[in-house]
């Protein structure tokens, strides 16, 4: 999806992510009990809620790391994980799933950087191996991205030599290297020391300002209020409340939202 101003009007008609009655269960445990959501291009959606409410699982369904059991999920108009012909659904081949995932960046709570590669190596890996970009080009782009997250002088360091905040910023650069049209953040600051949270949020704020479509599972209410276009409160596998972040935070309608916010604010 192009970020040119002309294209925005066109694409605004179609949501980047659309979920209809998405259900997911692990064995007998129902984790998602029918999620309906829409994320428009260039929008930032923050998902909050108590642990075990299904917000991470929902995020992982969007790039098919988890297979949904019911409902439908579309990314940029394409069904996630399946192909529909008439009434029948066909599971996508591994290759096709991988093809879809290229366009969706994901940032994990525990960073999940590749420990046997340098920061630059991490960022170059997917463009070279998946897209077939030349090493020179990937290096150039990798250095640019590391510069963007403020780590160009640490490009030759291994993840174990970086602080948590630096590792997470490398992880963001790694995801951006594939030029995704959508970025998923799974509690990106939850594993960080308090003084390192800010540097990661700053990078994310910059991304949002540049027009990236983002879905952020987070506990950072300040970030959700300032950067988010929409705030979704999930509990027990359902969306309890959704709306403008300021409204939801200052004037929660639902009892469960009130209870949750009173604990985290």
């Amino acid at each position: 999806m192009s970020a040119e101003p002309i294209a925005v009007q066109q694409t605004a008609a179609q949501p980047m992510v659309k979920a209809e009655a998405v259900r997911k269960h692990f064995g007998r445990l129902e984790v998602l009990k029918g999620i309906d959501l829409e994320v428009m291009p260039r929008a930032v959606m923050c998902i909050v809620g108590p642990s075990g409410s299904g917000k991470s699982t929902f995020l992982r369904c969007i790039n098919h790391l988890e297979q949904i059991n019911g409902g439908r999920l579309w990314v940029d108009g394409e069904l996630v994980g399946y192909r529909q012909r008439g009434e029948k659904l066909y599971e996508l081949k591994e290759k096709e799933v991988a093809q879809h995932r290229r366009d969706i960046g994901m940032v994990f709570q525990r960073f999940n950087l590749f420990p046997h590669m340098t920061a630059l190596g991490n960022v170059m890996e997917a463009p070279v191996q998946v897209k077939g970009t030349s090493r020179n080009e990937a290096r150039q782009r990798g250095l640019e991205l590391l510069e963007r997250v403020g780590l160009s002088e640490r490009c030759d360091m291994y993840p174990s030599q970086l602080s948590g905040g630096q590792q997470q910023r490398v992880a963001i650069a790694r995801a951006l290297a594939m030029d995704p049209k959508l970025m998923l953040f799974d509690e990106p600051t939850s594993a960080l020391d308090p003084e390192l949270v800010g540097e990661v949020l700053d990078v994310m704020r910059g991304l949002a300002e540049a027009g990236m479509t983002m879905i952020v599972v987070t506990h950072e209410m300040g970030f959700a209020r300032e950067v988010g276009d929409e705030l979704v409160f999930m509990d027990d596998g359902v969306v309890v409340e959704a709306g403008n972040p300021r409204d939801v935070i200052t004037n929660p309608q639902h009892e469960r939202t009130q209870a949750f916010l009173s604990k985290v604010l």
Binding site: R101, R110, N112, F114, P115, T118, Y158, P159, Q161
Partner: protein, 321 residues
Amino acid sequence: MTDTTTPTASTRADVKAIPVRHPGRWVASAGVVLVSAMFVHMLFTNPAFQWSFIRDNAFSAPVINGAKNTLVLTVLSMVLGVALGIVLAVMRLSPNPVLSGGAWVYVWFFRAVPRVVLLILFGNLGVLYSRYDIGIPFDRQIANLFGLSLSGRFFGVSANTILTAFVAALLGLALSEAAYMAEIVRAGISSIEEGQTEAAQALGMSRGKLMRRIVLPQAMRVIVPPTGNETIAMIKDTSLVAFVPYYELFFQLQAIGSRTFQLFPMLVAACLWYLAMTSVLMVGQHFLEKRYARGTRRSTDRAEKKSLFKIWTRLPSNWGA
């Protein structure tokens, strides 16, 4: 300097304490030195060792030839064993029950049968079958059911041309090694946390690429030390191929020993040969381990460039790895 207590010249000075004495260590060290000296004394004064005989015969042409066979067998059976082991490990971790079950049965069988038995078995396969044919299983039986006389064999060779002593020895060693390697590789792959796979998948990597680029390079750190053990064990286990029978280092040394009635010096020569080969291997293992330890330590690589001597100080920690 401002302190809560007033510092005197003596408190500000470097710590120069009398170290704790370890008399027990001194006694033990003296004991070790004494026993070593006795051993060396025995080596050089007991005429039974026949050092000159060892020197004259340990490098004779048949022995060198045997040593060459030992090395070739070790290298080839390890290469085949590791390759097949990786395939078996990946099969074992497959969600398909036929693949994982097949790998399990393979490992179960080849770990259960002693190598000597396996080698004798392979050495005598020519007795059991004079020809080997590749084709559709139960072809003649099925054809007979329909009253036809068809054969579904595509090609075949006589046992003597394909199953030479060398091939039998190599197969016996490599197939049994693959079973052990499969378990080592599986442990290595399982040691990599799922987050690595997920991160690679999220970037759009295929399963094969993810294995080759992300999982296996990291698993190598767990795989290399026990594989070094396996290789050392393999050097020694090649002496079992005498049962095929195929000749290698030990076979040749023993032959000289029995022919000249100087068995003991030739056994000593065998010890020295195996010691030398194993030592070379340990150096190689050290560098391999260093290669795959990249990124696992906080210190920079420059700090890691210490002398090879570190291999000794690092040995104990390697056992646990």
